[in-house]
Structure formats: C-alpha cells, structure tokens
C-alpha cells in the first residue's frame, strides 16, 4: 500500500513537472501568445476558486452562494498589503507570498465569523444567507475609503505571473486533495452524507462545518489575491452575485465532491466563452444554453464524486479498459 502511494506521488509530481515544462516550452516557442497566457492564468485562478468552493459545497454539502465575497476580501487585502509594501524593496515573490497569506488569513477569519452563525442553517437557507453576506461585503467595499470605493483600486503591483500562479494552484489543489483524504476530510464528507448520523458517531459537526467553510474562504482569499495581482485593478462590482454563481457552476458541472472534476470544469468553462468569441453576441446565449443542456443530461456533473487518478487511468490503459464498462474496474480495484 505504502509503496503504491509513493509511486503515485512520484508519478503525479512528474506529470505536473512535465505539464509545467510543456507550458514553458510552448510560451518560449511562441505557440502560447499573450492572449492564451491570459486565459491559462484565469484557468488557474478559477481552479483555486472552484476547488475551494468544492470543499464547502461538494465535500461538506453546504450550499454557499457568497464565494465571490471571500474572493473580494482576499483580492482587496492582498492588493492593499502589496501597495503598502511597494517601496520596501522586498523581492516580488516574497511580497506576493506575504500579501496572499495575509489575504487568505483575513478571508479565513471572516469565514469563521460568518460561518459560526450561518452554518446553523441548512440547504437553501444557508445559500440565501451566504448570498446576503456576499452582497453586504460587496456594498461595504464599495463604500469605504480604503478600498477606493466604486471608482476601484488602482496601482496594485502586477507581481503574479504564470510561474507563481501555476505553482500556487498546484499547492492549493494538493493541500485540498490531501485534506479531503485525511481523517478530517472523512469527517467532512460524513457530514455531507448524513449530518445526524455523523453527530451520532461522535464527529463534532459544528467544528468541522465551520472548519470546512473557513478553509474554503481561506483559499478563496488566495484566489482573489492571485486575481488582484494579475489584473492590477479592482472594481468591487466584479465580485457580485454572478461571480459567485460562476464559481458554483464550475463546481456543480465538474461534480460536487470531485476536485479533479472542478479542475477539468474550470478549464472547460474558462475556455468555452473565449472559444465562442467568434459568435460575438450569441456567445453567452450558447454558453448558458449548453449549461442548461448539460445539467439536464448529466445532473451529477462530469465526474460525480469520483476523482480522476493518473494511476487508475494508466491501469485501465494497460488493461485496455478505457472504452469497456467501468463497473468491472471499480469492483476489482
């Protein structure tokens, strides 16, 4: 068992390094233009946001409609920190790490403060109250001096680039993956399956619910910070209800409770509107139409709750089972 998991780790690390090398090669080659690079960066940001929301909505089973609020907190805290650090002569990477960590901690603390009262509610009501909190955060940012208010915040150092964004995304997804497969992760999943039963077997449901929610907020803060340092301009109205919905759509489409699903869906849903650019005005019409159709035919999302794993894929490849029935492998696994 231990041997296999070490082999798996090495394989996954190798795959990521190869992916990174390929990316760098294509940029160096000029195949990936600035425009494509921008899309890739947005894919990474969306991956961080979606996987973090997946922890709260997919794994913990708590519908959250205010994720853009935590993203906004992260973006603003990170931007303001970086602006005040600008003259200090710190190297960019250090500055980025300090601002992102502060942003994440701030968003996480707000997540705890909101989570403790809000998580007493269930289902739709929780969705509504998180929607309310998200909107309150947005109006708040819109009306205080420190954030530049409705005019937006300018002069943010543009210190995130494809290299650090790629590796931050890798680290975030890895942490979330190990978390969901840890003892705490199993506790979180048990709350999704049946909260009363979880409580009955001695899981502190309130603690784990707040913890899951706060960790989701923490990483949403990082996602917001990455966004702030790439765009270098923040407008509070970009963090509205529709932004939260966009993130939720990625999570649901990828499959609630599947991090790899979120990653794939983030890639698809970031590229799709760009690929449809040729259709000009019909672009979002097609996008929303496809969304409805995909939901009707695959309501559980692309991946459901299963994870894509490289070793599993290779196993299937070796045994020529890619196109044959999937049931057999699951049983034999």
């Amino acid at each position: 068992m231990a041997k296999i998991s070490i082999k798996n780790y090495i394989m996954n690390v190798l795959a990521i390094v190869i992916l990174y090398a390929l990316l760098k090669f294509l940029i160096w080659n000029g195949v990936i233009s600035r425009y494509y690079l921008g899309i890739i960066i947005f894919i990474c940001i969306n991956i961080v946001l979606a996987t973090s929301l997946n922890l709260a909505t997919g794994f913990l089973g708590q519908l959250a409609l205010g994720h853009a609020g935590f993203m906004a907190i992260g973006a603003y805290v990170s931007a303001i920190t970086a602006i005040s650090l600008k003259g200090s002569g710190l190297p960019n990477t250090v500055m980025l790490i300090i601002s992102l960590l502060l942003a994440a901690i701030f968003a996480g603390v707000i997540g705890i403060l909101i989570g403790i009262p809000a998580l007493r509610l269930k289902g739709d009501y929780l969705g509504i109250i998180t929607l309310g909190f998200g909107e309150v955060i947005r109006v708040f940012i819109n009306n205080i001096k420190m954030t530049g208010g409705a005019q937006g915040l300018t002069g943010i150092p543009r210190i995130s680039n494809i290299d650090n964004i790629f590796w931050i995304t890798v680290v975030v997804v890895t942490i979330l993956y190990t978390l969901t497969n840890s003892r705490h992760g199993r506790a979180i999943k048990s709350i999704r399956e049946d909260e009363i039963a979880a409580e009955a077997v001695g899981i502190q449901t309130t603690k784990y619910k707040v913890m899951g929610f706060a960790i989701a907020a923490f990483f949403a803060g990082i996602g917001g910070g990455m966004y702030a340092h790439y765009i270098a301009f923040l407008d509070p109205n970009t963090f509205n209800f529709m932004r939260s919905v966009e993130i939720l759509v990625i999570v649901v489409l990828g499959g609630m409770g599947s991090l790899t699903g979120s990653v794939i869906a983030a890639i698809v849903l970031t590229i799709l509107p760009e690929a449809l650019r040729d259709f000009a005005n019909y672009r979002l019409l097609i996008y929303s139409g496809l969304l409805v159709i995909m939901m009707i035919f695959r309501p559980q999302g692309l991946f459901g709750t299963t994870e894509f794993s490289l070793s599993g894929f290779l196993y299937k490849l070796r045994h020529n089972q890619i196109f044959s029935s999937r049931k057999k492998i699951e049983e034999g696994d």
Partner: protein
C-alpha cells in the same frame, strides 16, 4: 412630515412591485422547492413584451398588461417543461444551476434580440400628479399600488376557493399524497408557473413604467430584492411574500431617503441576515421539526 408620508407612499409602491414578483418566487418554491432564479428575467421579458405590444399595436395600458402577462405565462410554462421538469428527481443543486443557466439564457436572449441599450418605455399610464391633502401622488404610483393589491386579492381568492388553487396547496403540502388523491401534479405545477410568471410580468411592466426603462439586465436587482422579500416573509407562503415585499420596499425607500442610498442594499441584505439568524423560516413561517 409631508415628505415622510410621501416617502411612505413611494415605499408602498416599490414594495407592491416587489410583492408581486416575490409571489412568483414563493409559489414556485412552495410547490417544487426550487429557487427559480430565472424569475427576475421572466419579469424582464414581461417588460419587453409590453414594450413591443405598445409599439406594434398602440393598445391601451390594460390590454398591454394582459398581453404581456399571457405571453409571460406561456414563457414560464415552456421553461418549466423544457428545463425544470427533466430535473425533478435530480439533486436539488442541479435544478438550481439549471435555473441560473435559464436566467443567463433569457438575459442573453434579450441582449441578442433587443441589444444592450435601454429602451425608453412610453408613458402608457397618463402621468398626472394627484393631490390628496398636502401630499402629491403620481398616477403611476396609485396604479401600481392598486393593481398589485387587486391581483393579490385575486390570487388569494384563487388559491383558497377554486379547485386548481386548492390542488396547488395540496401539492405544496405533500406531493405524494396529492398524487394518491388523484391530483394531476404536472398540470398543477404548470398552473403555478403560469400564474407566477404572469405576476412577474405584472411586476416587470409596472417597474418599467415607473422607471421608464427596459433593458436586458433590469430583472437582476429587483429579482434579488423580491427574492429577499419572499424569504423575509417565509418562503413558500403566499401572505409571507406579500408582507415581505411591502416591508422590503418600505425599508429600502426609507433608508434611501433618510440614511444613505449607497448603503441601502447592505441594509436590506443585513436585515435578511438578521431575520434568517433569528427565525430562519421567515416572519410568518412555521418551524419544521427535524426528523431522524
């Protein structure tokens, strides 16, 4: 004092629009437990239907209103049967995402057909200020309040006294049991969507006449506010939506007039949060016991 009274009447007018829109949310939620995010956009479509009808035919206000409400009802039923019906047994969040997708779809459909620039809604209600004592009230305000209350009374009668109305209440109480009682659930759900959408169109027409504009994203904010109103009064409850609509409209108008127009949204949502924390099922809602 006079200004205060004036503001109260404005609040009543805004609130009555929220209330009729909130009714659509609450009826749909009551019957299939779905937050119909597309409802705000049905309201927008209703406003566009009215706009087209006025320009194409030049009919009087009441005819325009009826045409718009009928078209919106057809639209609502179509959306239900195409997008929501296949998902009735799917996880609830998938249905929610479908509703959001439908909302985006309608917005972009309007964007493609009518373009993004706001259209000026002709003054189909003759604008005359009426003096009641020292207070000046516009005819639009009076019509808005009167029509909303008329349709609310009508709806109340429909739900309480007629057979389809009773079956609607039965289905929202217990779907399985009402099937056993021989109620056609699918038909009842369609009727609910038709009525909800027609009321949404009523709200849309009144809103567009009051603010003299029609544009593709006009349904988003009033839709969200109406939704807050529905939750405030107790989602799934028809009197709750009415009460919530009036209260939210009133709070919004008063805070805009006396506190701050920038903060009014935060105050509305803040009140929503407080209500949910103290009494999650809304002001008129009953607490449901948790069953193991």
């Amino acid at each position: 004092m006079n200004i205060f009274l004036q503001q109260l009447i404005n609040g009543l007018s805004v609130g009555s629009i929220y209330a009729v829109i909130a009714l659509g949310y609450t009826m749909v939620y009551g019957i299939i437990r779905l937050i119909n995010f597309a409802h705000g956009d049905i309201m927008m479509m209703g406003a566009y239907f009215a706009f087209i009808t006025v320009f194409a035919t030049g009919m009087p206000f009441y005819m325009v209103l009826i045409v718009s409400m009928v078209l919106a009802a057809v639209l609502g039923v179509t959306i239900e049967s195409l997008a929501y019906k296949p998902l009735r047994k799917a996880p609830r969040i998938s249905a929610l995402i479908t509703a959001i997708g439908m909302s985006l779809f309608l917005q972009n459909l309007a964007l493609v057909i009518f373009r993004a620039d706001p259209k000026i809604m002709p003054a189909i209600i003759p604008k005359r200020p009426i003096m009641i004592g020292p207070i000046q009230i516009g005819t639009v305000t009076i019509t808005t309040i009167a029509l909303s209350i008329f349709f609310m009374v009508l709806l109340d009668f429909f739900v309480k006294k007629t057979k389809p109305g009773k079956s609607m209440r039965a289905v929202s109480e217990d779907k399985e049991a009402s099937i056993l009682m021989g109620i056609n659930v699918n038909k009842t759900i369609s009727i609910t969507f038709a009525i909800g959408s027609a009321l949404g169109a009523l709200g849309g027409v009144l809103y567009s006449v009051a603010y003299t504009q029609v544009f593709p994203t006009m349904g988003v904010m009033p839709g969200l506010k109406a939704f807050v109103a529905a939750v405030f009064g107790g989602i799934g409850l028809i009197p709750g939506a009415m009460l919530g609509g009036f209260v939210i409209g009133m709070i919004e108008t008063i805070t805009k007039a006396y506190i701050s127009s920038q903060w009014s949204d935060a105050i509305v949502f803040g009140i929503l949060i407080i209500v949910l924390l103290i009494k999650p099922t809304g002001i008129l809602g009953k607490n449901e016991r948790e069953k193991v």
